[in-house]
């Protein structure tokens, strides 16, 4: 039947219910946008509020450990004839630009803050602190699509007078940084210096770098530069560690007790792994060696035999204990170091007639024992490994931001408390490995890192890679008796670690330890 019978009142009620549901739908739509999409929209890079809010705050400074300024604000005179263009207030450039002091190589730690090119480094990671805003405010877009609560705009931004953000104090020693930068010179690579007892980053240089004060000028060149000056090689560069990885193999051998100090290996200059010949550096035959002399001479043949005895599974377990295949918590992003996964039980003895899986594992293990193949590590991570040996087997969480202070008053708002990250080996193993590393510098490949009157512990590495000459490594710490600094040096395609990386480490260690004297 037709609806002609309904009274006009009924129809009015029905019509209203249509309106009511439409209004309810509208309210749900609003709640969805604010609650579920709010974070994304509020922090979207195209949202002009971001810039407007930042412009309205006197950004905090970044300082070195000794109080030297590393980043500050350029004084800016506001023109008097500012006519507020309607609807364009937020997009107007207030002109306050950053100035960076200190060694150029700090650009990878301090970063930059630029209207057009965005933010990097501490300028990015501690942006909210530098602005004095709660952490949730300037979240990266779309990361947390959770229910946002409250306003995403700071209150009091439009107060008369600019509010000040907080100052950031770094652990960086600017003089040491300058020495590290100079020692590395114009060679692609990185130098990282840590305090092994706390995990503080004392210096971190990466080359090539660029001048953050001239970003407008250098930008077109650096984005096209094939050597990628943007990359912080200290934290993001993944390199095969080569013989430096033997520190971990030796630690595993000692900690598990599988290799004693008197166990002898015979080196004929090369070893056959499933038909592949792996040689010692220069094809030299080292003859009869024990663990200590194998490490000092960086004997590949002996270490492959050691690794076979330990087994892939155990070695892999130790690599993990030292931080491979794990996220390294740091104030800036750190790439994860990699250690290969073994398919089955490690090839303890190389059983004949094994399947492809076992054969692959054998190849992997032989390469991993000498830090080649698919083993990859960042220079920061290698410095942490040296620190762990130096610090009686305890690996500290690395950090570069030590304090946040209120802008103006200087009152400390937050102070970093050094924290233990892992304990990869026992105190006694760490002490034994330390002795091996001291020997490696005193009488082994690392002699060029040695300092007069002070014992240095360390290991060189000459990492083969598909991109040409091997990468030169040196990883170590000093003084051996009471380690104050740990260091990691890499020079990309630099050649032999002993002749290229060890002298760089020597120069940096020398400055770090003898300056006060």
């Amino acid at each position: 039947m037709y609806d002609t019978g309904t009274r006009i009142q009924t129809r009015i009620r029905r019509l209203f219910s249509v309106f009511m549901w439409a209004f309810i739908g509208l309210a749900i739509g609003l709640a969805y946008i604010v609650g579920w999409r709010g974070d994304y929209l509020a922090t979207h890079v195209r949202n002009p509020r971001q810039i407007a809010i930042e412009k309205s705050i006197e950004r905090g400074g970044i300082y070195a450990a000794n109080g030297e300024a590393l980043a500050g604000n350029r004084p800016f005179q506001k023109p008097h004839d500012v006519q507020r263009p309607h609807g364009d207030a937020a997009r107007r450039d207030e002109g306050s630009a950053r100035v960076y002091f200190g060694p150029t190589s700090l650009v990878h730690i301090v970063g930059y803050n630029h209207d057009r090119y965005g933010k990097t480094g501490v300028e990015l990671a501690f942006n909210h602190q530098l602005l004095g805003l709660p952490r949730g405010f300037l979240r990266t877009p779309g990361l947390i699509p959770g229910l946002g609560f409250g306003s995403r705009q700071p209150q009091g931004v439009k107060q008369r007078g600019k509010p000040r953000g907080n100052d950031i104090i770094l652990t960086i020693d600017p003089q040491l940084q300058a020495v590290a930068e100079a020692a590395l010179g114009h060679r692609n690579g990185a130098v990282v210096v840590l305090d092994p007892a706390t995990g503080a980053v004392l210096a971190s240089a990466s080359y090539p770098a660029f001048d953050a004060n001239r970003l407008d000028v250098v930008w077109p060149d650096i984005i096209q530069d094939p050597s990628s000056p943007f990359i912080n090689r200290a934290t993001s560069g993944l390199y095969p560690p080569g013989s430096v990885f033997k520190i971990i193999v030796a630690s595993a051998a000692i900690e598990t007790g599988l290799i004693g100090p008197n166990d002898i290996f015979v080196c004929s200059g090369s070893i056959d792994v499933n038909g592949r010949k792996i040689s010692c550096p220069g094809g030299r035959a080292h003859g009869r060696v024990n663990l200590a002399s194998a490490l000092a001479l960086s004997c590949n043949v002996a270490f492959i035999q050691v690794a076979r005895k330990i087994g892939g599974k155990t070695l892999s377990d130790f690599a993990r204990r030292f931080g491979f295949n794990r996220e390294i918590p740091f104030d800036l992003h750190v790439n994860e170091s990699r250690f290969p996964a073994f398919r089955g039980e490690g090839s303890a003895g190389g059983s004949a007639g094994a399947g492809d899986g076992a054969r692959d594992d054998e190849n992997l293990l032989a390469e991993a024992a000498i830090g080649q193949g698919t083993v990859l590590a960042t220079p920061l991570h290698m410095a942490m490994i040296a620190s762990a040996i130096a610090n009686r087997g305890v690996m500290m969480r690395p950090y570069v931001v030590s304090q946040v202070r209120r802008g103006g008053s200087g009152e400390t708002l937050w102070r970093y408390v050094p924290a233990r990250l892992a304990r990869p080996v026992s105190v006694s193993t760490a002490a034994k490995v330390k002795d091996l590393l001291v020997a490696a510098v005193e009488s082994g490949t690392g002699w060029r890192a040695g300092l007069d009157g002070m014992s240095v512990a360390g290991k060189t590495g000459t990492a083969q890679n598909p991109k040409g000459a091997p990468h030169a490594w040196f990883v170590g710490f000093a003084p051996a008796a009471n380690p104050r600094v740990a260091i990691s040096v890499i020079v990309e395609n630099g050649g032999a670690g002993g002749s290229v990386a060890a002298p760089i480490a020597r120069r940096v260690l020398d400055f770090a330890l003898r300056r006060e004297e």
Binding site: T4, I8, Q9, L15, F23, A27, A31, H44, G87, F149
Partner: protein, 412 residues
């Protein structure tokens, strides 16, 4: 009344206090709020609000929304605040005048065709002599003064349709002959249907006023349903609406842009999608309780003081404030339909239905557009948006509703 005005005075004072010294200040800006409060109270007593002559819910809600509209204008375009205040005073005066002079709204019914002719004439004048503002040729100007005739045509059309439908009476509801296989619509309904389609499409094509076209047709369908009780007409009407939409999408560039930017404004963030994306940023940045009045950055949205005032409100008052505004419009619509239910005759019912639908559809389409739930159309927020024509026309609608309400009760 006091409850409606207190937040206005408070809000105005907050905006006054937080606005930055370097921002363009307007002379005597602080005087807006006491003067507005004074005007509202004057209107209340002159209009007989204390004697129950004014609708007890609608009037305070309207006073509140209008007051907030002045705050938003003051906050977004301080230079226009006094002008908006003046329009509000004129609107209040008209409300009072309508309440005093219009003894019986039934008088309107007598000049049934006058309203229809007036509407068509006004629109024809606009099309012939109108000037373009923002792409829509919807304004008639006399020297320095200009107004938007379609804002008034809305009211006239509603009066005309209410009179026409109630005249046609129940006789038209009797099923009549079949035309081929469908039940033929009675000629009484065909006439206005053709008229409204014609009006809507001429608005759309000649004035490029998508919002007004949709609004006219929507109000017409609402009134047609209440008058005829035939869902088949409504379905037919909705089909026509969809067909019209599809056809105009393909025929007219300005419609296509609106729809494309509704589907994906991010495809042209800096160009045609700029406005809607900026509105979404404002909504997202506001959070649940907003930045506080005067502390957000809504001025980055183009046309924020007219079509996008809702986005500004949500940024500074948050989800809570936005939901409160939605609730107020729902209350306004609800009271409108309640008046329609209690009207003394069919003309009154239809008149109130049309006016309530007018307020409701306007609020829904513009808020839905700002929230990107429907394509954006150039409709103003009743009472909140900056603009004299729209404010005065909505005050007229409120006056008429009040009148229907008063006589409904008196006769009951």
């Amino acid at each position: 009344m006091g409850f409606a005005l207190l937040p206005v005075i408070l809000g105005g004072t907050i905006v006054e206090l937080v606005s930055r010294p370097e921002e363009t200040r307007v002379p005597m800006g602080w005087a807006l709020w006491p003067l507005y409060a004074l005007s509202s109270f004057a209107a209340f007593y002159l209009g007989g609000g204390n004697k129950g002559r004014l609708e007890p819910v609608i009037f305070p809600v309207v006073v509140f929304l209008t007051g907030f509209g002045i705050i938003e204008t003051y906050r977004l375009r301080p230079d226009l605040a006094w002008r908006q205040f003046a329009w509000a005073v004129i609107g209040l005066a008209l409300l009072v005048l309508a309440s005093i002079l219009l003894g019986d709204y039934g008088d309107l019914q007598r000049y049934e065709y006058l309203w229809g002719v007036l509407s068509v004439a006004l629109l024809a004048l606009t099309i012939a002599f109108g000037k373009s503002v923002g792409g829509a040729r919807a304004w008639l100007g006399f020297g320095r003064f200009s107004f938007e005739p379609s804002e008034f045509v809305k009211i006239f059309i509603i009066i005309f349709l209410a009179a026409y439908f109630s005249d046609a009476g129940t006789a038209l509801m009797v099923p009549t002959r079949r035309l081929w296989w469908i039940r033929a619509p009675e000629l009484a309904y065909v006439g206005p249907l053709i008229l409204m389609c014609g009006l809507s499409f001429s608005l759309l094509i000649l004035q490029k006023d998508l919002g007004a076209a949709f609004l006219f047709f929507g109000v017409f369908l609402a009134m047609l349903y209440v008058a005829s009780g035939r869902p088949s007409y409504i379905i037919f009407g909705l089909l026509l609406l969809i067909l019209g939409g599809v056809v105009s999408y393909h025929l007219f560039d300005h419609v296509r842009v609106r729809v494309d930017m509704w589907i994906n404004p991010w495809s042209d963030v800096d160009g045609r999608g700029y406005q809607i994306v900026q509105a979404l940023f404002a909504l997202g940045s506001g959070g649940i309780f907003g930045s506080g009045l005067g502390l957000g950055h809504p001025s980055v949205i183009p046309a924020v003081e007219t079509d996008f005032v809702f986005a500004s409100l949500c940024e500074e008052l948050g989800l809570a404030g936005g939901a409160a505004i939605i609730l107020l419009y729902l209350v306004l619509t609800y009271r409108g339909f309640k008046i329609a239910l209690g009207a003394r005759d069919e003309f009154g019912s239809l008149l109130a239905t049309g006016l309530a639908s007018l307020l409701g559809i306007q609020a829904l389409t513009i808020m839905g557009g700002v929230l990107k739930l429907v394509p954006l159309t150039g409709v103003t927020m009743p009472f909140l948006s900056y603009g004299g024509s729209s404010l005065i026309s909505n005050f007229l609608a409120t006056g008429l509703l009040s009148s229907v309400a008063r006589q409904g009760r008196a006769d009951a």
